[in-house]
């Protein structure tokens, strides 16, 4: 895959692709004030694949997820999940926000947070039954947090908090998982656990999209990558996308040659 123009022109989103893709974004522009966070962004995330969204700070990575989920309203653009407006298929999408986006001092236990993932099926007043609790415990077990169910969330370490968030997303039982920087500030063991869980999701046919900031691990964790810096720089299989040219175009002068060499092996 080539740099810039070629990368842009190499792809033409066919209408068919949009109809089936778990997530397709076309011409998305989002601004905060006068400066765009995203400009005319096109991206397609393929089914049953783990994809990374990569770019420097302020490149619009989190904004992309927020726009997808309707938390910010775009200036222009079209976003579809499984061929429908996202609003209509929210029950098929699980979301893991940035850990720092909530107040962990909130009065709740770990199990309470996981049960929040079932909010749609529980509705307003349906009682929480044994089956729900068992499922929540199962989600906690998958992230290795089953012994913390009754712990106050403020007492958890950063890595444990992140795992609870992942367990909550698992409880949503979705087809498309959107994760915003799940590896930020977590310990190595947590990172390993999260990757294992995500891979098992992919292996059962789910689609995983992760906003990722560690270039060194991209090729280990992901099959595909989307490089953005306000606009799309490149998109495709990781091996094709991570080239000196595209990385330079994404990160500008911020990436030292030595780092580049390391990332590209």
């Amino acid at each position: 895959m080539q740099l810039g123009l070629a990368a842009r022109d190499g792809r033409i989103v066919s209408t068919d692709e949009n109809k089936t893709a778990p997530l397709a974004v076309r011409g998305l522009t989002v601004t905060y004030g006068e400066k765009p966070a995203l400009f005319a962004l096109d991206a397609t995330f393929e089914a049953g694949v783990m994809s990374a969204i990569i770019g420097p700070n302020g490149a619009g990575k989190s904004t992309l997820l927020k726009a997808v989920l309707g938390m910010v309203s775009p200036v222009s653009g079209d976003i579809r999940a499984y061929g429908h407006p996202v609003r209509d298929v929210l029950d098929r999408i699980a979301y893991v926000p940035q850990r720092a986006s909530v107040d962990w001092d909130f009065p709740a236990r770990v199990i309470d947070v996981v049960l929040m993932g079932m909010a749609r099926e529980l509705g307003l007043l349906r009682p929480i039954r044994r089956a729900h609790r068992d499922r929540a415990m199962d989600c906690l077990t998958r992230v290795g947090m089953e012994h913390f169910a009754d712990r106050q969330i403020g007492q958890l370490s950063g890595g444990q908090q992140q795992r609870v968030f992942l367990a909550r997303a698992l409880a949503q039982e979705a087809d498309l998982y959107l994760l915003d920087e799940p590896f930020a500030g977590v310990d190595a063991a947590t990172e390993k656990t999260i990757v294992a869980v995500l891979k098992s999701l992919r292996d059962t046919g789910r689609t995983v999209v992760v906003v990722h900031h560690d270039l060194a691990t991209v090729s280990d964790y992901f099959e595909r990558a989307l490089l953005i810096n306000t606009t799309r720089i490149a998109e495709g299989p990781v091996a094709d996308v991570l080239t000196p040219d595209t990385l330079q175009a994404t990160y500008g002068g911020r990436l030292a040659q030595a780092q580049l060499a390391q990332i590209l092996g």
């Binding site: 927020k66 989920l69 309707g70 938390m71 609003r87 929210l90 029950d91 999408i93 979301y95 926000p97 986006s101 909530v102 107040d103 962990w104 001092d105 909130f106 009065p107 709740a108 236990r109 947070v113 929040m116 909010a119 749609r120 529980l122 509705g123 307003l124 007043l125 106050q152 403020g154 909550r168 949503q172 959107l178």
Partner: protein, 305 residues
């Protein structure tokens, strides 16, 4: 003290005080957790212009126009705060300060300009209320509680406050899950498709309802204090939301009863003739409870980040 006189003179104000305190404390818990504690403050400031407008429009000192005016003012204030915050890119505190001081100033000016001296409508009343005057003249003793004719003579504030309290409790119970979820993690709540905006509006409207009904009975000091102090004290005692809400209800009730009794009988015990402001005493007691919780509450410590 627990005799016929108590039933006639003290029971109704104590009950009204408790109901008002509880109705404010329950939404206060969520406002506190959402860092919107001062919305309660703002709402109770704009109640004054609301009732003045309600009076000027209808020219009568009847309850409903005034309560409608107050409720309308509260909602206008909340919408104004939100739009000024967005449009002017201001911090919420500054936006609140701008809106409530402007509306309060407008209310005072209207009051001065209009001929309201003949009616019982003044700033003092808006601030302290008049809990002590809410007596039950038809009561002759505990038996009156079962006497339909005597019950009809209850101060109208009592059933009104009871209904308000019931509505606030019911709505909170109904919306418990989405309220809890959107308070903890608004982004996730949106991603689930919950109507986050509508929920926070519902919360504010509930708070406004409680404030307006309570203000009419007890004045705005109690309202502000009860929005914040009992939930804050409860926050320092527990790490479970449900426990926190129950505790805040307990603290609110305790403040109301203790405050009323101390205001009514305290000075007598000290050898003075007159009682002191019950509203002021209730606010003071709630502050003391908060101070105790802040000094000794098991969950008082700030989280080491």
């Amino acid at each position: 003290m627990i005799g016929a006189e108590f039933v006639a003179l003290s029971l109704p104000p104590i009950l009204i005080g408790c109901l008002a305190a509880i109705a404010c404390a329950i939404p206060g818990n969520f406002l506190l957790l959402r860092r919107q504690a001062l919305i309660g403050d703002a709402i109770s400031h704009v109640v004054l212009p609301g009732i003045v407008v309600g009076f000027l429009v209808t020219r009568t000192v009847s309850t409903w126009p005034m309560m409608l005016g107050a409720g309308g003012a509260a909602i206008v204030a909340v919408l104004l705060i939100e739009s000024i915050r967005r449009a002017g890119r201001l911090e919420p505190g500054a936006a609140m300060g701008v809106v409530f001081s402007t509306m309060f100033a407008g209310g005072v000016l209207l009051l001065e300009q209009s001929d309201t001296s003949s009616v019982h409508l003044d700033v003092q009343h808006a601030l302290y209320g008049n809990l002590e005057s809410l007596i039950w003249l038809d009561a002759t003793g505990w038996a009156s509680l079962l006497d339909a004719q005597a019950l009809a003579g209850l101060p109208p504030e009592l059933p009104r406050m009871a209904i308000t309290c019931l509505i606030v409790t019911g709505v909170t119970a109904l919306l418990w899950r989405p309220l809890k979820l959107s308070t903890f993690d608004e982004g996730f709540a949106r991603a689930l498709g919950l109507p986050v905006r509508a929920l926070s509006l519902a919360l504010v409207i509930m708070a406004a309802m409680a404030a307006v009904a309570a203000f009419d009975a007890v004045g705005s000091i109690i309202v502000i204090a009860m929005f914040i102090c009992p939930p804050a004290a409860a926050r320092l005692m527990t790490d479970r939301l449900a426990h926190q809400v129950w505790l805040s209800v307990g603290f609110a009730t305790l403040s109301a009863i203790l405050g009323y009794v101390l205001a009514g009988y305290g000075p007598l015990w000290l050898g003075f003739d007159d009682s002191v402001s019950a509203a002021g005493m209730i606010a003071t007691v709630s502050g003391l409870i908060l101070a105790l919780a802040a000094g000794f509450g098991p969950r008082r410590a700030p989280r080491s980040a």
